[in-house]
């Protein structure tokens, strides 16, 4: 009887531990799935020209606009229903809001999300403000849609993003629209 109880006491914690690991793995897998179908790579992974046309450069997966790519002044658009233009990498966008650059979502502590907490991430998506308290997140980031994600989904996305390879890449901060004539900023 004692040996049965002892075995039980050994097995249960091990099972609980395995369950915890499995749950964490499930969350990361779920996060990867969400990042994939929510098309995060479309803008946050620079495109390169492949044999069949533009394709995401997965060696720079989710690292945002390459800091080495200095963008020239955005082209002037002709009158008409054209509102924006974007870089060949799909990581820099110019429009009435100025110029926005897609963020580094990798866990690099200096230039990515490495120092972010889950709350920082959720506050950013929910509020549409950088870190939940700073400047507005600009187009084309579909905040109005992503802010509808459940807590569990946002937690899974963040969990996954913390597992991908860290890439040091300091993305410039947005440039204001020319009409405002005010200063631009880059900071982290």
């Amino acid at each position: 009887m004692k040996s049965v109880a002892a075995s039980f006491l050994m097995i249960v914690p091990a099972y609980v531990l395995m369950l915890g690991v499995a749950t964490a793995d499930d969350q990361v897998s779920r996060g990867k799935y969400l990042v994939t179908i929510a098309a995060c790579n479309d803008c946050h992974t620079p495109l390169k020209l492949g044999p069949k046309g533009p394709e995401p450069d997965m060696s720079l997966m989710l690292s945002g606009h390459p800091e080495s790519l200095q963008m020239p002044t955005a082209p002037s658009l002709p009158p008409g229903p054209w509102t924006s233009s974007f870089a060949a990498t799909n990581t820099a966008w110019a429009g009435p809001w100025g110029v926005s650059f897609t963020a580094n979502l990798t866990p690099d502590p200096e230039t990515g999300l490495g120092r972010w907490t889950l709350r920082n991430f959720k506050d950013t998506i929910r509020s549409g403000r950088h870190l939940g308290r700073g400047r507005p997140i600009l187009p084309p980031m579909p905040i109005p849609m992503y802010k509808q994600m459940t807590d569990a989904d946002l937690e899974a996305v963040f969990a996954y993003l913390q597992t991908i390879p860290a890439i040091s890449n300091r993305v410039p901060q947005p440039l204001p629209p020319p009409a405002t004539g005010t200063a631009a900023a880059t900071e982290h």
Binding site: R133, A183, A185, E187
Partner: protein
């Protein structure tokens, strides 16, 4: 024996156990209901600010106060009140992070040509805080609860028509939940009787205002260190201008720039004063000197320092305070018009007090 309707047989003992469990569960539900918050009232007049039937006469027990370093709100004239439940008090054991009792309520009224909105925060029974704002009708009869989404642009008619932004609940939390305690403007420094005569947009104390001394005398603030009772809190500074400048930065920027370890603020900058720390001012000044700024002017690659002593035009602090471009401006929310008086003060401080050729540092 108890025979349930579906034919099962439960012993009398089991039945008692089940009943006890059910009663316990019900009691738990009652507790949850009583501990939770009811919905916010639809009208400001039902939040406990005014006497019954009035929207101007403040209820007895609701205390008016005026911080010495007010937050710039695009020129709005503001009034503020606090209510503490009877028999409760604020525990000031941590002088820079007062512990407010459950049931605390605060209101802040914003007036331009008329009353526009009154913001409301309340500490609930579970210790959490909730935030709301009430929008006044043009005739001033009452104010109604705004959507938690806020209003990006509310048209205000009058002799000077303008657009006005009602904050969302997330906007409220963005500012109020940065510091250790979400109550801003009601602290030992802000209510000190040693008020700064050069504070920008300073308002005179009203006859019915409470300050730190009155709160202590009435037992509404307790456990404040004796040293702060004997000597009311005051910002240590090399000059009156510096005192006012640091006070302005405390009141307008200190809610986010509390310390250098807050991950949600990307610049390692401390502008909040700590009344218990004799080195508080030096820490703020050191922070302004040493924090790395990545701020760049258009078309340049060199970062602009936070403060260039003697050169406010080359100080990111002032440039960002002056800007109202959404990606540059500071503070990032709550204002659409630069504060000319605040800018003048900070410029004077940087250009004169911090000028290396004249500075006493």
């Amino acid at each position: 024996m108890f025979v349930p309707r579906h034919g099962g047989i439960i012993s009398a003992m089991s039945f008692k156990v089940l009943m006890a469990a059910a009663i316990t569960a019900l009691a738990g539900m009652v507790f949850v209901v009583s501990a939770g918050a009811g919905p916010l009232p639809d009208r400001l007049s039902d939040t406990g600010l005014f006497v019954e039937g009035s929207t101007s006469e403040v209820r007895a027990g609701v205390l008016s106060f005026t911080p010495q370093y007010p937050l710039w709100s695009d020129g709005a004239i503001k009034r503020r009140w606090i209510y503490l439940p009877p028999g409760t008090f604020i525990d000031a054991s941590r002088p820079s992070a007062w512990e407010f009792p459950r049931g605390t309520r605060l209101w802040k009224e914003f007036r331009l040509e008329r009353r526009v909105e009154t913001r409301f925060i309340e500490r609930l029974a579970d210790g959490s805080w909730r935030y709301a704002t009430y929008i006044w009708s043009e005739d001033g009869q009452d104010a109604v609860l705004a959507s938690g989404e806020g209003i990006a642009s509310l048209t205000l008619n009058g002799t000077e028509p303008r657009q006005y932004s009602i904050p969302s609940e997330l906007d409220c939390r963005a500012c109020h939940e940065g510091p250790a305690v979400p109550v801003l403007g009601f602290s030992a420094l802000q209510l000190s009787s040693d008020r700064d005569p050069l504070a920008v947009h300073a308002e005179s104390l009203r006859a019915d205002d409470v300050d730190l001394r009155k709160l202590i005398e009435r037992g509404l603030v307790r456990n404040l260190p004796t040293s702060l009772i004997k000597t009311p809190p005051r910002i240590s500074a090399a000059s009156p201008t510096e005192r006012a400048a640091l006070g302005y930065l405390h009141g307008n920027c200190g809610q986010c720039h509390t310390n250098s370890s807050d991950a949600s603020v990307p610049v390692d900058l401390q502008l909040a004063q700590d009344v218990t720390d004799p080195a508080s001012t030096e820490k703020v000044l050191q922070s302004l000197r040493s924090s790395s700024s990545q701020f760049r002017l258009p078309g340049t690659t060199a970062a602009v320092p936070l403060v260039s002593p003697g050169a406010s035009h080359n100080s990111a602090l002032l440039i960002r305070m002056r800007s109202r471009d959404a990606s540059v401006q500071m503070p990032p929310l709550g204002t659409a018009i630069p504060d000319s008086e605040g800018l003048a003060l900070i410029a004077r401080w940087i250009d004169q007090d911090k000028n290396p050729s004249t500075s006493r540092e």
